[in-house]
Symmetry: C2
Subunit: 365 residues, 2 copies
């Protein structure tokens, strides 16, 4: 069988240069050699985040980065607003609730973005809210939010804007500084085209007083400690050295390509995927679709829960099904990071053949 | 220059089989293929932990595993005892304090273990203490504690015993079940001979009610969620897939070797290193030395802060200096995991040459 084609919205395929870095002998992390890796990562991450601020590396899944944002910004009882567009907006709510925040959810119907006007309204109704938590792209619904417009709203107030860009960064356009994002969270295994295991987070100058005043208990995620070590090009705890080295190799490709080209590629592949879907009579699930993955409704009469495993077994192509309330109802094809157009073509072709076969079976029974 | 020799107490050298696994194309983590990796890891980890309990994999540094133990066991205000033998005992105290525990520290002078009798005494004085936090081997002091004796003390009471075995596991003898350890924490990059980025933790049946009743806020580390996903051979958040696959390759070597042989090898290499040190007139720092690394006092008149960088620059051998209050006062040579006797020999030879050169300089000046 051919090598597996990975079209899931993270982990995404890893370029050979990055895989090769993972296989290099390990080095110690309190050395000049590691300091060089650390500093290169910093330059690369600042470019991809589009920020002048420090970008901190965490040894964690992306969700660890979200928890890091929460415990470094909130105090128990603090009122915050969450703009939720899917499973990952709900994750903000769960983490914030676990740490005692007073959460005001602004939920969009799944498939839609939270409109900037809805956020303004929530802020007007809750003048004591201190922070807005949001999602750049939610892979559960394949929806993107208008973060630029959110930033224009918070820029006029003392409220800070936190963005989960775990699945969006390196695909969906975002400018941390220019758009007024006060905390941006991401991870290694999506648009950054590296293996999972690293989280990344950056705070604006407006967010920093929150970091200093937050009363949520924190140790592993404590940005005050992490920032101190940062000055020595170190992390306070043993970092995932091989993953950071590998992420640098992937980020070099992104830098060489330039961010505008990365964003355009995602937009182009999104259009390609949707046009292909249209030719298969597939209906798009999201009404406010993002650029990094596409979600199609599973046609009536088709067993949506079988699609993913069947296509993996028959074609060795890994696509994603629906999560939580969309389980069995949608199929998702990612077009982020190192995913190539010809791989998407193969995935869509396989999906078309699978659906055709199902229809024949359905018609015969 | 030859390939670097790594004699630091974590990260430690990685076997080629394990490095090769890191470089394999990434796969998705909600698949049967990942389930197989997960299940193999479980069998391997149970053997190395010497436990019948589930061993949970965390995407984190070892310190993340320590925080995981704390937030899943304590409630704010709970009285706990920490047996501290160095920097990592102090880390228990810092994490516990951050999450609001009422910490009773039992500190040994650096270089000594906390005696079981001291723990019994602390328990007698603090009958309301619920948990003892301890360290199997503390790399800052190169000391080991008598965990078996600690377990005999807690077995007679309702108190549970938590052990940080991050640097000890896969070198220093420990039997989670037979010794009555109620929570054992470890990580991938020391005795387990894999790249850093994974934490491991297991809880005894006696510890489980603590997990269910703990009131410390938790989300990323929440073992209740992690345990639920475990039943599907999954983790709740994207795991560090390539690192777990690689850790399996390293653990296969350990299993083939058998744990008694692993423990004996560490003891033998410890003796070899100490005998070599004696031949260089080096004085051992710890009075209760562990098997996984050796710490020597820096001789008078030698600039201890220069040793590490000088030996790295001249010989391409990476050894460790002292941490915190031992900075500049000790040098540390690890003999855990995949470190070979001939590598230790080269490291000790380099150390001897360095010290000799320093003495000549000192005598001439």
């Amino acid at each position: 069988m051919n090598e597996q084609i990975l079209l899931t919205p993270g982990p995404t395929p890893i370029p050979p240069e990055s895989l090769a870095e993972e296989a290099k002998p390990i080095i110690h992390h309190r050395t000049k050699e590691f300091g060089d890796i650390f500093q290169e990562a910093q330059v690369n991450l600042q470019y991809i985040f589009q920020t002048q601020e420090k970008v901190f590396t965490l040894t964690s899944s992306g969700t660890g980065g979200m928890e890091c944002a929460v415990v470094n910004l909130i105090s128990p009882g603090m009122k915050v607003i969450v703009a939720s567009i899917g499973a990952f907006g709900e994750r903000w709510i769960k983490i914030l609730s676990a740490f005692g925040a007073n959460v005001v959810p602004v939920r969009a119907e799944w498939g839609y973005a939270v409109k900037p006007a809805e956020l303004s309204e929530a802020l007007a109704k809750n003048p004591d809210a201190k922070i807005i938590f949001s999602t750049l792209t939610d892979t559960s619904t394949a929806v993107a939010c208008d973060i630029k417009a959110y930033g224009e709203i918070t820029a006029k107030s003392n409220v800070i804007l936190v963005v989960d860009a775990i699945s969006g960064l390196g695909g969906q356009e975002v400018h941390m500084d220019d758009w007024g994002v006060d905390a941006l969270v991401s991870a290694s295994q999506k648009g950054l085209m590296a293996a999972p295991g690293l989280g990344f987070i950056s705070f604006s100058k407006k967010a920093w007083p929150f970091v200093l005043e937050a009363k949520a208990p924190r140790f592993y995620w404590d940005i005050r400690t992490i920032e101190k070590a940062f000055h020595n090009s170190e992390t306070p705890f043993t970092p995932a050295i091989s993953l950071l080295r590998a992420t640098n190799a992937s980020m070099r490709i992104i830098k060489k390509m330039t961010m505008p080209a990365v964003w355009k590629q995602a937009r182009d592949l999104a259009k390609y995927t949707r046009d292909y879907g249209k030719s298969l009579d597939l209906e798009l699930f999201p009404k406010d679709p993002c650029d990094v993955l596409t979600s199609f409704n599973v046609p009536q009469g088709v067993d949506g829960k079988k699609i993913v495993q069947d296509i993996l077994d028959k074609y060795n192509i890994s696509i994603a099904g629906g999560q939580e309330k969309l389980a069995g109802k949608v199929v998702r094809i990612a077009h982020m990071g190192f995913i190539q157009r010809n791989e998407i073509e193969k995935g869509m072709k396989a999906l078309g053949e699978f659906l055709k076969a199902q229809k024949v079976v359905a018609a015969a029974s």
